[in-house]
């Protein structure tokens, strides 16, 4: 039985900036990083002075070749690793990284099927990588994002997603608080919302859904009810801590 292990690389924190009150973009320089497809993730390992280690898996917001990777971390209130990455990690600090991981929840520029992305909260991170890959490849394949979030203040990468030059259109959906003058009231995504705001089954899109388990369950079930084939729906969920 072969069990070749992907090795750990050292990542040096090169840049960081806050995304929201609870989320932070952190970009590492990682000598030996082989590049990654849009949607892949990476394991992050932290080691305490007494040797105790903690590992968590995060989606990568950046894409392509090169030895830099950007992560977007949302602080979990009861988390062990995310508060350290969001609040404490300083420029020049190092962490260990293993990856890229995952070959299913990815988008590659050679794909020709129209793409619908549906994000719940910080589930938007792999889609940031996909919209970037779409733009940098000059892809002519239709790609659009439906981004469900609690309040306008919770948006990650709002400026980037709203740029006129963005090749993938973003539709914003708020579940708790809407911006003033917003035409749609706050509430969870309904089957009607999905019918109105996503690519229809007739276009046979490949739909990617990422978010908390309840969100993914609800949205994927609604999409199959609208007539999308289960084979054309890819999901990624996060839960636990």
């Amino acid at each position: 039985m072969t069990s070749r292990a992907i090795g750990w690389l050292t990542g040096n924190l090169a840049r960081a900036h806050p995304l929201t009150a609870s989320a932070r973009s952190i970009t590492f320089t990682v000598p030996g990083w082989p590049g990654n497809d849009a949607g892949q993730h990476v394991d992050v390992r932290l080691t305490a002075p007494d040797g105790y280690q903690a590992v968590r898996s995060y989606s990568i917001a950046s894409t392509g070749t090169g030895e830099e990777i950007e992560l977007a971390i949302d602080r979990l209130p009861d988390g062990e690793v995310s508060p350290f990455l969001v609040d404490d990690l300083e420029l020049g600090d190092t962490v260990e990284l293993r990856g890229p991981l995952g070959g299913w929840f990815v988008w590659r520029p050679e794909q020709t099927q129209p793409v619908q992305l549906i994000a719940g909260g910080s589930g938007v991170v792999p889609f940031i990588a996909m919209t970037r890959a779409h733009a940098s490849a000059g892809s002519s394949v239709p790609m659009q994002l439906l981004y469900s979030l609690r309040t306008p203040d919770d948006a990650l990468f709002r400026d980037e997603l709203s740029q006129p030059s963005a090749t993938a259109r973003t539709t914003w959906h708020y579940t708790r608080t809407v911006p003033s003058g917003w035409s749609h009231s706050a509430g969870r995504l309904t089957a009607d919302d999905l019918r109105n705001e996503t690519l229809p089954p007739e276009q046979v899109p490949l739909t990617y859904i990422c978010g908390p388990t309840g969100f993914v369950e609800t949205v994927s079930h609604a999409l199959t009810s609208l007539g999308h084939a289960a084979d054309n729906i890819r999901t990624e969920r996060f839960g636990g801590t």
Partner: protein, 193 residues
């Protein structure tokens, strides 16, 4: 320089390397949760001789079953200790099956597959589970029935399983073709290919 303190110190000897304890039950699936009516459900084991052993839901539920208390370990690094299940041992399901092949491909409703060595499914090490924590198994956790192979990373415990096909070689299943280890032993940290 920021110093990571950590706080869990999961030095429990039941915890494989690189794993942390969780009290919740996270879900990892590649696509939508299939909706499976037990009236339509069937389970099969298919051998190289062309023989197919089949069970309807009622036949399956009537088989001898057992309470199972095991630790489960997900490749994404969470572990959950002392989980309680009820299910049918694979020894029971394989009792009448004659095969010379050493490997199994598990097939699920929804198209998911995973490969396993037959030897690791027998001798009281694997079950078809249909209850979790005293209740029928939720669809999002693999109901009505899933494989339970707790000594391997939990992606090997295929949800919504509908059949096992004997294979002569250890051909890779779905996650195994997408970068995960062919075998998946958590104590050897066989996470990735």
């Amino acid at each position: 320089m920021a110093v990571f303190g950590g706080r869990r110190r999961d030095d429990n000897p039941a915890l494989p390397p690189g794993q942390y304890l969780t009290e919740s039950f996270p879900v990892l699936s590649a696509g939508p949760t299939p909706s499976i009516n037990t009236e339509d459900w069937e389970f099969f084991i298919h051998t190289e001789a062309g023989q197919t052993h089949r069970w309807t839901w009622d036949q399956f539920i009537a088989l001898p079953s057992e309470d199972i208390s095991v630790d489960i370990h997900c490749v994404t690094s969470w572990s959950k200790l002392g989980t309680g299940w009820r299910g049918v041992s694979l020894d029971t399901l394989f009792a009448e099956v004659e095969t010379g092949f050493d490997f199994v491909m598990a097939h699920s409703y929804g198209g998911y597959t995973t490969n396993l060595p037959l030897g690791e499914l027998l001798n009281g090490r694997a079950w078809m589970a249909y209850e979790y924590d005293g209740d029928e198994l939720d669809p999002e956790h693999g109901g009505p029935a899933r494989l339970l192979v707790p000594h391997l990373y939990f992606w090997k415990s295929a949800k919504w399983v509908r059949g096992l096909v004997m294979q002569s070689e250890d051909n890779p299943g779905f996650w195994e073709e997408n970068g995960y280890n062919l075998h998946g032993d958590p104590w050897r940290e066989e996470r990735y290919a």
